[in-house]
Symmetry: C2
């Protein structure tokens, strides 16, 4: 280890860039080699065509990042192939079968690591959970936003599954007598608890999940019923994640969680009801199980930075394995 | 590899024993060091008290196994701690907090590896899937019997979870308006598709799942409705396993699957309905996804033999890790 420490002290300067590329904005975090933050930024995402998207991302980074850039990690809302850098499908970015990794590598002249955005954020959440000591090895990050999906860290490693679809629980069937989902099935979790579903149940259109939480807070019985229904579904999703993966923590994140206690409160009440009904549920749904990721933890960009670190440490890793070992407590907020 | 082959040729003789200890019978498989079967046996399981259980297991093995016994692997229907050899709870064996591993080690004077029976069978199923070539790395073994649970092999390794509860999907909530489960929750998968539930839905008592399948086969509409309901729930469980773990294969096993096509047919029909409704379901529920483990594959005892092999190769492994790497195509039927 002395050898390794000496190398660290002698390393050339440079910066790692983490990007959370969303359908509306691209968030940038720049850190130094010790993972200390150096700069943050944000710019609208340009989704007109792939070339404009790449150019927009490049400019968003250049606006805040000092040189040299050593590696870039990118969270993308869609299906990506980390080993090839291909985006198979990212509807909100208007991309299909596009080699985003290669395009960004050409811009930055540095290694680029791509990952699904929820999975990238799960790396950030895992590092945040273990910020003080390496205590948690099995974790699910449950993202509730426009869609619902989970990122899994199992035995301390990111788990992707056979074709990168692990954790796609938004389309698990929750209610056989429920609503038809956009995916074609009936009663998927997303039809109950995703942001657009919460909004749609309140008013046919021109509504938002925020408006429903606000109305529920003011005592509107219909809004409260919608929130309680969504919260019960999220509690069932947490139970599902525990009964399938047997994780130690479920970290909640995503846009709908910005409602804070207005959503977390009913979720905790629904979990308490399950605990009251069942000794097995009490055993599995432990008091410390559910954690809301604070906005300051910035798990999306922090996870992207960890991808960049991995790409820098081992530029060829993306062609060798679909697994990523998060660097745990090495990140700093 | 030449070195390794020479060592194989020079190894001392001896036998590995795999045990599937059920609530009613204990099944024994004895193999040589090349994992070729040497003997099989079966004896009633004695559940009067722990000492009688251990003595019964010991006699069942001695009745068929030649000496010397190098190691023993045991599948137990309950919660076990592989690293300590402790059975935390095995209701059908009348065991609670009992050091079965130590007790059997004392009998056989050989290393003993314990594992939950479904998880042990998943090792056997994984080896059986990869009997010709190492092609599958992500697999779920779904056991449908008195209870329902899944054993997972992810990235080629047995996955246990944080407290050995991974894959306990029998108590995932499938129907919010369903029946109260023995676990205390409402609408668990087991209330729809486990053997006792299928029997209970048909006649209040003195029935069996076999009788329901038989009546359904003869055209009884009530029996067919019960079978179809159970089959739809199993199809949903398969979909759940794919959407959570993104496995390449779901291997079906357990007592209720002894009904063969009388159950498999309706399960495949229910999967086909999901495929017809949804492009995403078509993508995930591939034609090769679902495989029924043939009785001749004997996955329970074969998995136990693999545990024995692991215990022999590395007798201290049980104190070091909760993970088990199955030995893939090295098993012979």
């Amino acid at each position: 280890m002395a050898e390794s420490n000496r190398q660290t002290a002698e390393i050339a300067p440079g910066y790692l860039v983490g990007l959370d590329v969303g359908g509306t904005k691209t968030a940038v975090l720049v850190v130094d080699r010790a993972l200390q933050p150096v700069a943050r930024g944000s710019a609208p995402t340009v989704v007109d065509n792939p070339e404009a998207l790449v150019q927009g991302i490049y400019e968003a980074v250049l606006a805040v990042a000092p040189a040299p850039i050593l590696a870039v990690g990118v969270g993308v809302p869609g299906m990506v192939e980390p080993h090839s850098g291909l985006v198979r499908l990212a509807v909100n970015l208007n991309l299909q079968q596009y080699p985003l990794g290669d395009a960004l590598t050409a811009c930055f002249a540095a290694p680029v690591a791509l990952e699904n955005d929820v999975r990238a954020a799960s790396l950030g959440a895992f590092a945040w959970l273990n910020r003080d000591e390496q205590k948690v090895r099995h974790m699910a990050y449950l993202s509730i936003g426009t869609g619902i999906a989970a990122g899994l860290v199992l035995n301390g490693r990111l788990y992707r599954g056979a074709q990168g679809m692990a954790g796609e629980i938004g389309h698990v069937l929750f209610d056989p007598r429920g609503e038809r989902c956009l995916c074609g099935l009936t009663g998927c979790l997303e039809t109950i608890a995703a942001g657009p579903s919460i909004a749609r149940h309140w008013q046919a259109d021109n509504s938002s999940a925020e408006a429903v939480f606000s109305a529920a807070h003011e005592g509107d019985p219909a809004a409260r019923a919608i929130v309680d229904s969504a919260a019960t579904a999220v509690a069932r999703a947490i139970h599902l994640l525990v009964m399938t993966y047997d994780v130690e923590r479920v970290v909640l994140g995503g846009g709908v969680l910005n409602a804070g206690d207005a959503f977390l409160g009913p979720i905790r009440t629904a979990l308490e009801t399950m605990r009251a009904d069942s000794a097995l549920a009490r055993r599995m749904l432990t008091p410390e199980l559910v954690v809301a990721a604070p906005p300051a933890a910035d798990v999306a960009r922090q996870g992207a930075v960890l991808l960049a670190q991995q790409a820098f440490d081992d530029p060829k890793a993306r062609s060798q394995t679909g697994e990523t070992r998060p660097k745990g407590a090495r990140i700093h907020a």
